[in-house]
């Protein structure tokens, strides 16, 4: 017969005491596992919230980006590059330049290493009489955006005007009754109306856009332009001074002026909205982390109190067991049992109780943690199932804690049993 058989027989003989100890251990282990499961449910919930917020922010940012592109298109370019000798007073008074520069300037700029400018649009503008319609208009020749060969291509803000066509401003097409597809004579040349713009409330409403080369022909300015319109990159809001320096470095015979501060303001607003969304996300994360910290602290205190209380209860049960078994211990010592064997009898029972109680506590904690998570976290029951909350480390922890707790709580009574003088008991009996 082995000592283990003695332990098992004794447990089956004194079932009530063992079950009471088992319940106590299960409560302690369950409390620990429940707290851990609750924290895990909190983490899962946090993850879900953050993912949802990130998705929402992404959608908001995408919408803002789209809005911004549209806004930029409406508000126009915010950088204008003019020939160096152009008088800004004249330019502001006439709304177009009287000095010209070579068209290849725009290609030079497009091939340069400037990173602050994304979109480049060469134009030739001039106020002209439209003799066929007896109107004064602003004629703009444009060839569409010039791609920057050293960068990944961006979706252009302005589409080029197809050859042989024109785009007409609001006031003009309204007053002249023009619509897309109409054939129109301009300075002796026939154009097809490609598009009619909506009202912009600016000089664009009396502007006609035609291809650049045709405008150069009509105005007698072959190979020349009088402005390059540019728009800064949304992700590289350098200050205008830096942009100016960059451009003049590449094109020394030019000057740069800033326009369209409304676009800038909107872009900044968009950036602020983006930053606010990111900050909101950070705040949410911080709030959840704070909440988790509070729960962790509460759980630590609760688990510690429960573990200590259970430990004391187990110690009392073990002490009662030792007192009840005094005659048995005396006889076993008389039969030649060493004190170490007596100690082993009691501690192995405690460890067995701890392992069984720990396993029960683990299941209890997992179940209770899931239920509490639904109540406290507002988690979806499907999101906090036992499978979702299961963590192999928790079962190891529960078994380790339970067996250690049981062994430590039983240690003093077991030592008392091991050190008991058999003669004292046998004489009393």
């Amino acid at each position: 017969m082995r000592t283990g058989r003695l332990v098992i027989k004794e447990i089956s003989y004194r079932k009530v005491g063992f079950v009471l100890g088992l319940v106590s251990i299960a409560v302690a282990a369950g409390c620990l596992v429940g707290a851990l499961a609750l924290l895990k449910a909190h983490d899962l919930r946090t993850q879900a919230i953050v993912e949802r917020k990130e998705a929402e922010t992404k959608v908001i940012m995408a919408t803002l980006e789209d809005d911004m592109r549209k806004a930029m298109l409406k508000l126009g370019f915010n950088i204008v590059i003019l020939p160096k000798e152009q008088s800004l007073g004249d330019w502001h008074a006439d709304d177009y330049g009287s000095k010209y520069m070579p068209e290849e300037y725009v290609d030079t700029l497009a091939q340069s290493d400037i990173v602050t400018v994304r979109h480049l649009l060469p134009s030739l503008q001039q106020k002209v009489k439209w003799p066929e319609r007896k109107r004064t208009i602003i004629l703009v020749g444009t060839r569409g955006e010039v791609p920057e060969l050293h960068r990944a291509p961006k979706k252009p803000l302005v589409e080029p005007v197809p050859a042989g066509t024109m785009v007409v401003g609001y006031e003009l097409h309204q007053s002249l009754g023009l619509k897309a597809g109409d054939q129109v004579e301009l300075l002796g040349r026939t154009f097809t109306v490609h598009k009619c713009h909506e009202e912009r409330g600016s000089k664009d409403d009396i502007t006609v856009w035609i291809p650049l080369d045709e405008a150069q022909d009509l105005l007698g300015k072959k190979g020349l332009i009088n402005a390059i319109l540019a728009l800064e990159c949304m992700c590289a809001w350098a200050d205008v001074g830096q942009v100016r320096e960059d451009i003049v470095r590449v094109l020394p015979e030019t000057q740069v002026i800033e326009l369209g501060s409304r676009a800038l303001a909107r872009a900044e607003a968009r950036t602020r909205v983006g930053e606010e969304a990111a900050a909101s996300l950070r705040r949410e994360k911080a709030l959840r982390a704070h909440l988790r910290g509070e729960r962790e602290r509460s759980a630590s205190v609760l688990v510690a109190v429960v573990v200590v209380a259970c430990g004391v209860w187990i110690a009392f049960l073990a002490l009662a067991n030792v007192r009840e078994r005094r005659p048995e211990i005396g006889v076993l010592r008389a039969l030649g049992f060493r004190s170490g064997q007596i100690l082993f009898l009691f501690l192995s029972k405690a460890v067995l109780m701890g392992l069984v109680g720990g396993a029960l506590g683990f299941l209890l904690g997992l179940f209770a943690g899931g239920r509490l998570a639904v109540g406290l976290e507002g988690a979806e029951p499907d999101a906090v199932t036992a499978r979702a909350l299961f963590d192999p480390a928790h079962i190891v922890l529960a078994l380790a804690l339970a067996s250690c707790l049981s062994a430590v709580a039983s240690w003093v009574p077991a030592m008392m049993a091991a050190r008991q003088e058999p003669a004292e008991v046998l004489r009393q009996e």
Binding site: T3, L426, R427
Partner: protein
């Protein structure tokens, strides 16, 4: 086998020191059954506990098989008890949750031996308990309990059996049976020291003593038995029989 030399034992009580044993000298040889009579409180149980290595004497020397258990460490003393000493108690002291067979086998946990199970079964049959193999002590009669305790005491074939009032709770028939078994152990070569009130025990003893107020004195030799002496340098019954 067992030798007590000037052994004394005193306890501190509420009314001062109580001398339970006073300069006791006694030798029990192999094959000898020695009976010690005495009234309650005379120190009989103390004598057995001291002799069995369970209670350290205040003075004198105890030798079991020539070895003083009190000069050994706790574990060695336990090993000596497991190997050489068998105890029988008035209250039987069976383990309540073990059945008869496991109770008889219990000493084999302290001192594992090959064939302990077979030996236990054999003893259970020998003590006419085979119909109680798997009964726990609560299901046994008092006589059966004492027979189980006797079987347990001799499982490891101890050379010394110490019996404390083994017939105290038994009826006449069972008491006679137990005394016969103890006499048989002695005949088989064990040394048996029996403390009892039972007058019938004297008839089976090789020597008898009376313990009164801690002092041991020889009583009349039993007719047909060995010479009965207190103290040392007395012939053992085996020696007497051999003469």
């Amino acid at each position: 086998m067992l030798e007590l030399k000037e052994v004394s034992k005193s306890f501190r009580g509420p009314e001062g020191e109580v001398r339970a044993l006073e300069a006791i000298s006694l030798a029990v040889e192999a094959g000898e059954l020695v009976v010690v009579h005495g009234p309650s409180g005379s120190g009989k149980t103390t004598l057995l506990l001291v002799a069995g290595g369970l209670l350290r004497p205040s003075g004198g020397e105890v030798l079991v098989e020539g070895c003083d258990p009190y000069r050994l460490g706790p574990n060695q003393r336990s090993a000596l008890r497991a190997e050489s000493v068998g105890f029988v108690f008035q209250q039987f002291h069976l383990i309540p949750y073990l059945d008869v067979l496991d109770n008889v086998r219990a000493p084999s946990v302290a001192r594992p031996q090959p064939g302990a199970v077979d030996r236990a079964r054999e003893l259970v049959r020998r003590f006419s308990l085979e119909h109680r193999f798997h009964h726990v002590p609560a299901q046994l009669s008092t006589g059966e309990r004492q027979r189980t305790a006797l079987a347990r005491a001799v499982l490891n074939r101890p050379k010394l059996i110490l019996a404390d009032e083994p017939t105290g709770n038994l009826d006449e028939e069972n008491a006679a049976m137990v005394l016969d078994y103890l006499a048989e152990f002695a005949d088989q070569g064990s040394a048996v020291l029996l403390v009892t009130h039972d007058a019938g025990a004297a008839g089976r003893a090789h020597r008898t003593f009376r313990l009164d107020e801690g002092k041991l004195a020889p009583t009349s030799p039993v007719p047909g038995g060995a010479a009965v002496h207190a103290g040392m340098n007395h012939p053992s019954p085996r020696k007497a029989r051999d003469q």
